[in-house]
Symmetry: C2
């Protein structure tokens, strides 16, 4: 592998130039921007490497999937799942440099998508470039399934997978891309949380009123605040009836893996400039909560006058964006039904619940043979032992791949804990990009030998 | 007075043309717009009528006061309080026509400020024009005190009044301008509620996070929601400790006056397209609550992602605008102190309270001789009996005039219940403008005879 690794080092600047051009496309799925342009750009990237590329539509809604396949030496096949869309860049004034102009500062690269997920795609292709250059062929068959709307919850991915079972069939799957710890220890992640994303909206009158009417005219903002305050208490306990019913406790080896992870919580505290985590959690307790517990998050609040100074107005309209991260075996549709029932039960039938997106939690067992291949490859690419992570705290449509396609699915990549995905100044460390690319090359090679 | 009234009718179009030009100035004090331009425009309007005009600065902050005086036949002096600033026009998309282009549709005129307060100023000047044209002189001395920042809470008005006690001295004061009921019955309003306007802000981290961190990273939006939910319960009871302590019960004649007011609540229900008022209140109960009770209102909420679609973000910053309407003898500084103490006591010392503006509640007694003059004048100008209203539900810096200057202060004018002040499509009915102008002429004449 040393020759392959050297090729990766030697061709880094070309690779980063391709990444720069990819990140220049403002592929914001939440705002429907640059979708077909990016799908075409990505297809070209794949065709240049000898892939047979198809841009496949989803069923009713959602952006097209870029599907690509390329034969290799071994009969083994890997499916690489990624997405070409990115999160909205707002708030723009908190970016140090423009979000769609990849900028190098010190040992880091900054751009929306540089980590999540365009950087991971470019890293995987750079790994293949090196294997092809050194060996003249790919070690295994490679399939890419690259979505265009993961950041809005991958609509219609389940029916898409059901429709293309043969096309997507593989021996194993690598997920969109995780990365290393603060200390540079590679993480192999084996699951995701589920997600339910909703918007709550309440209209209390046909129009805003002068706030002197607050004696007698209902206030949409108050209705929203009161409704939200019934959903979670100040001790972070979700109070929706039945919310925790389907939560299954972690298995013994999941718990052991979480306990074995390093205590890296100080770095995030520093980055966020916070004195402490919720409930003062640290160490194992902090990690067990982070990886094992479901959440209920207010992602946004909007009502009334938000400009400078004072405006005495009684708002007729108020809304909140809300997401729930779910753990096995919570079901997003079940949680949605429970949320609606809860609001009605507590007298908030004036609150409209709009379902924006959702996905199931899913996990690959820690003792899967594919996991061993990814672990072994990590030992070749990194100077330190890899960590097994039973689940991400984040979400992706892994359920369709692990359950429907029946594949072991793992995740590794080029990111690090301060990559600021979904936030201003999204970034990667160049050294992590190089190591992650080498790891990817070793996984592809290792699967060919297994 | 009939000749004076006829003059008002005959010169209506000229008067409305002056109003149109006045409303064309976007004098939004909350955004610091067009202040000096409007002060100059207004000064010219006054000089044309023979006023001696002075543009007087406030002490530290605040926009200049346009002060003007003009002698009359009787030694009596009236002080007319008005303001030349307006509320922000936002949300712009809810205006049927541009807010700063006065538009006539049917029997109404639409523009920001057409009622609050530029329309009232123009009406008062038109009343004087008629008296001058018919009698060759003004019946009494007239002083105008016209603020430029009433809509942001009249900063520094108390020290301004203290500094100019002699200048502002008068036998009575007319306030900025109220109007008629849904049925066209003129209202003579004798008091205001007080106001405390604050902004609550909480920052939970240096920057937003990906919402998967919601397990361990505090969420500013949740902190804000929880804090707000401790301030008022869903039964509309303010829960700040001591909030109601200083509320003095209405006097018997205040209560009788409120009971004598007509049941006009159906019109507002229709306009707001609401099935019912808070607590299902109607009739006397509705009015007693509206005029006698203090309020706690969320005027605005801001946090996290507010754009289209789903963004999974954990907000580090959240803020709310909040106003309290206060009744005698609540004190805005006392309520501010109680609000801060309440938040700390309930564990919300992370919530910053910024004081934006405030004012004391104030009332003129119903049996004041000046009130009799205004009542008698209303009987000349309107075909129906006037109503005495012990207090507005709204706010103004009346306290400085009633208490500091020791003047009886009443309010009457050109507005009606659907004037939509502070909201999109602010408007007046032209017939109310004419009657209100005649009433004003009769008040000035009546004071000269008293």
């Amino acid at each position: 592998m040393q020759e392959v690794f050297r090729y990766i080092d030697d061709h880094l600047e070309e690779t980063l130039d391709e990444l720069r051009r990819f990140c220049a496309l403002p592929t914001v799925s939440a705002q429907g921007q640059a979708i077909s342009e990016t799908a075409e750009f990505l297809s070209e990237m794949l065709r240049r490497r000898g892939f047979d590329v198809r841009v496949l539509p989803k069923q009713d809604k959602g952006n097209p999937v870029v599907y690509a396949e390329r034969p290799g030496k071994s009969p083994k096949t890997i499916l690489l799942y990624n997405h070409y869309d990115v999160q909205p860049p707002e708030p723009l004034d908190l970016w140090s440099t423009p979000p769609f102009e990849m900028t190098r500062r010190g040992d880091k690269l900054y751009a929306r998508g540089v980590s999540d997920d365009k950087g991971q795609i470019v890293s995987r292709l750079a790994a293949l470039d090196a294997l092809l250059a050194v060996n003249g062929e790919a070690p295994i068959n490679i399939k890419f399934c690259i979505e265009g709307d993961e950041e809005i919850g991958s609509p219609e991915i389940e029916p898409f997978v059901h429709k293309h079972l043969d096309l997507l069939k593989a021996d194993a799957c690598l997920w969109e891309g995780s990365g290393v710890t603060w200390d540079g220890q590679p993480q192999i992640t084996l699951g995701v949380k589920g997600l339910l994303y909703v918007e709550l909206e309440v209209r209390s009158a046909a129009r805003d009123s002068h706030s002197s009417w607050a004696t007698v005219v209902p206030n949409a903002a108050w209705r929203l605040v009161w409704a939200l305050s019934t959903l979670k208490d100040a001790d972070e306990q979700v109070m929706i009836e039945g919310f925790y019913d389907a939560v299954r406790p972690s298995t013994a080896d999941e718990r052991a893996a979480i306990e074995a992870m390093p205590s890296d919580e100080d770095e995030l505290l520093q980055t966020l400039e916070m004195p402490r985590y919720l409930k003062g959690l640290r160490g194992v307790d902090y990690r067990l909560r982070h990886y094992s517990e479901p959440t209920c998050t207010i992602d946004g609040l909007t009502s009334g006058y938000q400009g400078p100074g004072a405006k005495t107005v009684l708002p007729a309209l108020a809304s909140a964006k809300l997401d729930f991260r779910l753990v096995p075996d919570q079901d997003p549709q079940d949680i949605l039904a429970k949320l609606k029932a809860h609001l009605v039960r507590h007298g908030f039938d004036d609150i409209e619940v709009r379902h924006l997106s959702g996905g199931h939690p899913a996990r690959t067992p820690l003792d899967s043979p594919f996991v061993k291949v990814v672990e072994k490859a990590a030992r070749e690419a990194y100077p330190v032992e890899p960590l097994l992570v039973p689940t991400m705290a984040g979400t992706g449509p892994l359920h369709s791949f692990i359950k429907t396609l029946g594949m072991p699915t793992a995740d590794c990549g080029i990111s690090y804990p301060d990559s600021r995905i979904h936030a201003p100044d999204e970034n990667i460390r160049i050294a992590d990009f190089v190591s992650g690319t080498k790891h990817m090359a070793a996984v592809l090679a290792g699967m060919g030998e297994a």
